[in-house]
Every structure is written in C-alpha cells, then in structure tokens.
C-alpha cells in the first residue's frame, strides 16, 4: 500500500526529476564543467579533426548496431546490443562535443540554429563526405554472424587504441579514453563469446561466421594507416599511431578465431586511409541521410 502511494506521489511531482534509468546513463551536457583548453603546441583544428574521427567511428557503429534492436535472436541480446550501442553513442557525444570545443564546426555550425548543441550540429548538419569514420564501421551489418564479427574486430581495434589514448597529452581525450576502456572491454568480450558460439556451433553457423570473417577482414586495411593529421598529433603526444596497434589486434583476433575453429585470413595490405579522409561508400550516405532526416527537416526546432 505504502509503495503504491509513493509511486503516485512521484508522478504528481514531475518537476522533481531525481529518477534514474535501469541501466544508469546521464543524458545531458556531455562535457559540462570540463576544462576544454587545447594543450600548448597542439593545432586545435588537428585535435578537432581527430575527435571527429574517433567520434564518427562510434556514432556510425552505434547506428549500425541499433538496427538490431527489435530484430535480435534473443531478448538478452536485445538488451546487450542496445547497451553496446548506448555506450558508443555516449562516446560519440563526448568526442563530438570535444571536437566542437576546438572550433572545427565550420559549415555545420552555421546551418544549425544557435540553440542546437555542438554535438548535434556535427552529427546532423555535416554531409557524408565530412564524416571521418573508417570503412570498418560503415559497411552494412549483414546477418548476425557478420555483425558480431565486425563488432569483435571494431572493438578490438578501438580498445587497443583507447588503452593507449589514456596517456594522451589532451586531458579531455585521456579521460574519455579511460571511461571508454571499461565499456570496450565488455563489447569485445561480448562479441568474442558470440564468435566462439557461432564458429564452434553448427555447420551452418560456422559457415556464416567464416563468411563474416572473410567479408570484414579486408576492411582492416582502412583502419591502421595514419593520416597526416594523426601523424602530427602522434608527434605532439596527443594521438595514438594506428599502425602501432597491429600486433595487439592481430594477436587478439587470431586467438579468438582459432578457438572458434575459424580460418584467419591473410592480413590485408595497407592502403592510403580512405574513411579518415572523407572517402566513403554509398552505404554511409544512406545511413547519414536516415539519421539526419528529421533534424534537417526542422532546422529551427529544438528537441
């Protein structure tokens, strides 16, 4: 009886908003109260572009994973996939807000009304060729097998990168990385467990998992070559050199795939970075168009 009354009281006092979510997430002002001064000797435009690279990877992969919500094999997986997407969305918000604080907003800022925060100006008012994500995250997810293989590869790369980024000279990036490492460790573990089950499950699941591996592997070529921006920031002690991640990434992926009885393809030849330079396939244009449709339809609105 007492409980029933308490719940009604809480509803009557809707302004007193101390409720919380089941899975605990803060939603407002990702960088509120954080000192966003750019470290000395660092080009703000480079730092902003680097934040876009890491932020766009998270945003695009979150969008891909969200396509599985209401389409997953099990309810437990609905919860897990939403959880991973929510973590990545949180990382994207922090990184896009950090990018905004360095003044790289450019055209997107002038297209959005003043009341729209920087993170949304960047997510909703850039064109696809202004996105800096790699080809690894923008490729369509395919079936559940390819989805978990891609998640394994992407979270292995990102975890290796974030673990090193904790030592960045930019304290904001270092803090974002420190928080992200915990999340990415879970993402990688979750994906690895699925790759084991599928690789070592039935003949059908083995076939599909191997197809996923074969489809995702070539995308690694776009991940580990630094752009000029990254190279300058590596020299300044701010960014992580993606070329230096290969040993860890290859080691982890080989271990998981072998345990899953899957064949590890040859490591792809390095190419000049495409996604980081704004070169994307038509799939990204579609993903971005869907994500931005409502916000662009009402550019003067606040949500």
């Amino acid at each position: 009886m007492a409980h029933e009354e308490t719940v009604y009281d809480a509803l009557a006092n809707a302004a007193d908003d101390h409720g919380h979510w089941a899975f605990g997430t803060g939603f407002d002002d990702p960088l509120a109260g954080v000192d966003t001064t750019v470290p000395e000797g660092v080009d703000p435009a480079d730092l902003g572009t680097y934040c876009l690279m890491l932020g766009d990877d998270a945003l695009v992969l979150a969008q891909r994973l969200t396509q599985w919500v209401t389409a997953s094999p099990e309810l437990e997986e609905e919860v897990a996939v939403a959880n991973v997407a929510l973590d990545l969305l949180g990382q994207a918000r922090l990184l896009l807000a950090r990018a905004g604080s360095t003044g790289v907003l450019g055209r997107s800022r002038s297209q959005a009304t003043d009341s729209i925060p920087d993170e949304d100006a960047l997510a909703y008012f850039r064109d696809p060729d202004e996105f800096r994500n790699t080809g690894l995250v923008e490729a369509p997810g395919g079936d559940f097998g390819r989805t978990v293989v891609r998640l394994l590869v992407a979270s292995t790369v990102r975890l290796a990168l974030f673990a090193r980024l904790r030592g960045s000279r930019d304290p904001v990036l270092a803090a974002i990385a420190a928080k992200g490492v915990h999340e990415l460790t879970y993402h990688r573990d979750h994906a690895a467990r699925w790759v084991l089950r599928l690789g070592d499950g039935t003949a059908e699941s083995h076939r599909r998992a191997q197809e996923g591996v074969d489809a995702v592997w070539p995308l690694l070529a776009d991940v580990l070559t630094p752009t000029d921006v990254e190279q300058r920031l590596v020299d300044a002690g701010v960014a992580v050199d993606p070329a230096g991640l290969r040993e860890e990434v290859e080691g982890v992926l080989t271990t998981v795939l072998e345990r899953a009885t899957l064949t590890v393809p040859a490591w792809p030849a390095a190419t000049a970075p495409r996604g980081r330079s704004g070169q994307h396939g038509p799939e990204l244009a579609e993903l971005v168009a869907e994500m931005q449709s409502l916000a662009r339809q009402h550019p003067a609105a606040t949500w």
Binding site: M1, H3, E4, V7, A10, L11, A14, D17, G19, H20, W21, A22, F23, T25, F27, D28, T66, Q67, V69, T70, A71, S72, P73, E74, L75, E76, E78, V79, A82, L86, L89, G90, A92, R93, L96, I116, P117, D120, Y124, D143, F144, G145, L196, R197, L198, D200, G201, T202, E204, S205, R208, E290, M291, S293, L294, A295, H298, A301, T302, W303
Partner: protein
C-alpha cells in the same frame, strides 16, 4: 505451455480441500502466494495468461518507438529513447521469468504470440507517425500503464508483484521523459506544437481503451479480484488516469480530443465522453493498422535468427560435455 510439474493430489480429494482452504486463507490475509505453494489450476492459468500478455506487450511495445531510433532528432533524444527501448526488453525478460515460475516456457509463449494465440496490448497496433508520438507514448501510454500496474505491485502472486515494483519505477521515469519531450516541443516551433497536438488527438482514445472493456462487459474481472490478481476495476483505473491527465494536458497546453470532457463537481472527477468500443474490438481482434507488421517483425526476429539459437545450443552442449557436465 508445458504442464506444471508440481505434484498435487487428484481433484476433489480431502487433501485438495485442505490445500484450497489454506490458499484462500493466504489470499484473505493479504499474504503472497509463492511458486512452491499449492494454487488452484484456474489461478495458475489466469496468471500465466495475464503475465504473458504483459510480457508480450513490453516486447511488441519496443517497436512503435523503436521505429524512431535511427532518426531521433538529437543525440540526447536518441540516447534517452535507446535506453527506454532497452528497459522494455528488460521488462519483458522479468515478466517471462515470472511466468516461468508458474511452469510456462518463454519460447512457447513467444510462439503463441507469433501464432496470435495470445494477445498483447492493442495500443501498440497504432503507428508512430511523428517524433511527438514518442513523447505522447511516454506521457499517455506509459501513464496509463502505470495506473494499471501500480496496484499489481500488491498482486497476490509474489514473483509478479516483485517484477512489477521494479517495472513501475522505470515506467514512471519513462513517463516523465515523454512529458519533458512534449514540454520542449511545445516551447519550440509552431510545427512542433502542431505535431504534439496531432499526436495527442491520435493517442488519447486508444490510451483510454488500454484499461480494457467497461466493468459491465469484463467477464473475468470478478474472479481475478477475488484472487488478488486484480485490485481495481477497469473503470476505476480509467477514471484515475483521466483525473491525473487532464491537469497535465492543461499544463502542457494541448486540448484533449473529447468535447464531452467535463468536471463533475459533485463527484470530484473529470467525466469523459463515450468510448468507441467497436474500434477497440476491431483492433483487439487483429484489424488495427499495424497488427500484421508487429507480428511479422517478431516472427522475423525468431525465424531469421533460428540458426543463431541452434548454434548457441549446440555450443553449450558441446562444451558442457567437454567439461564432464550433463549434455542439455
């Protein structure tokens, strides 16, 4: 549904009469029935039906709002909506677990949903046409759900009551988030205000129908009240919702689409106009605008991923055998 496995004496024996007396005394004292307790078969079946219908509603209810996840108009709104849809999956899980304590099986209940042998709340058979629908679902649909569900925190069946306590806390937060979205939109552009009013116009009557048929046309209610599975009549709960919502609509600045809505000074209640029960029956019986789409998506999630479930089972069997465990 697999048959309950609890041992119980044959019907009509003196033992059963004693068990029934003990059950009745537990209910009368306002105490809870727990999974290992004896319970009448009708009580068990009614609870399974009610809990399964509630679980299905949570899972199907992910879809109307889920349709806006990819196009949510800000990253903050996307995060709020994703967390809410995730909560609904979690609610479905608690409820299916509660049903399993009664001898039901989750996969079997899902099959019954897909084969349309069990129902879900017909509110989810309406489409979400604009982003204001996301806010209105939070405000009205979750608001109505809370009115229905808060009394169930005192349900006579322990696992259901405990699941409802957690669910109600989360639902009340969803309701506030929905209302906050609508408040923000009402302070926005004229187009946004029009979207909110249009969404209220479309969702108000279906929300009132969420409480079920009127009391004089609700055949199972009396037995459910006697069993402590239901605590208030449909019309009482509907009235509570209307009284709670009218002042909120005023504060929001929207008009509820009911010209007959009027304050009854003597009774101290808001009186609404007549509900179109023919529409309710049409939608419940499967002819709502989105029934086929909702079931088709649930079916696709099961069938397109059947190979994943088979792989997970095969892997578990293989590896439990390796470790000397008993194969499933």
């Amino acid at each position: 549904m697999s048959a309950p496995t609890l041992d119980r004496p044959a019907a009509g024996t003196p033992d059963e009469a004693a068990l029934q007396a003990q059950f009745d005394a537990t209910i009368a004292a306002g105490h809870r029935i727990e999974p290992r307790d004896w319970m009448p078969e009708g009580y068990r079946k009614t609870l399974i039906r009610q809990i399964a219908q509630h679980a299905h509603s949570e899972i199907i209810g992910m879809q109307p709002e889920g349709d806006w996840l990819l196009a949510a108009p800000s990253l903050r709104r996307k995060a709020i909506l994703l967390a809410k849809v995730q909560d609904e999956a979690g609610h479905g899980m608690y409820l299916y677990s509660a049903a399993e304590t009664l001898g039901a099986d989750r996969a079997d209940l899902t099959d019954k949903l897909i084969e349309r042998r069990q129902k879900y709340s017909s509110i989810f058979n309406y489409p979400t046409l604009t982003y204001a629908d996301v806010g209105v679902i939070g405000w009205l649909v979750d608001g109505a759900a809370i009115c229905n569900q808060v009394p169930l925190c005192r349900s006579s069946y322990g696992p259901y009551a405990r699941a409802m306590i957690r669910i109600c806390k989360e639902e009340s937060f969803h309701q506030r988030q929905g209302y906050e979205l609508l408040m923000t939109m009402m302070r926005g552009t004229p187009e946004q205000r029009a979207m909110v009013q249009d969404a209220v116009d479309r969702w108000w009557w279906p929300s009132l129908m969420m409480f079920g048929p009127p009391d004089d046309d609700s055949p199972n209610s009396a037995q459910s009240m006697a069993w402590g599975i239901k605590r208030h009549s449909n019309d009482e709960l509907r009235q509570r919702f209307v009284d709670m919502t009218v002042p909120q609509a005023e504060a929001l600045g929207v008009t509820l689409p009911d010209p007959d809505l009027a304050w009854d000074e003597a009774a101290g209640h808001w009186r609404s106009g007549a509900i179109d029960w023919d529409e309710f029956k049409r939608v419940v019986s499967g002819s709502g605008p989105m029934n086929d789409v909702r079931i088709a998506r649930r079916r696709a999630a099961r069938d397109d991923n059947a190979w994943v479930t088979e792989a997970a089972n095969a892997y578990a069997t293989k590896h439990s055998a390796e470790h000397g465990g008993r194969a499933a």
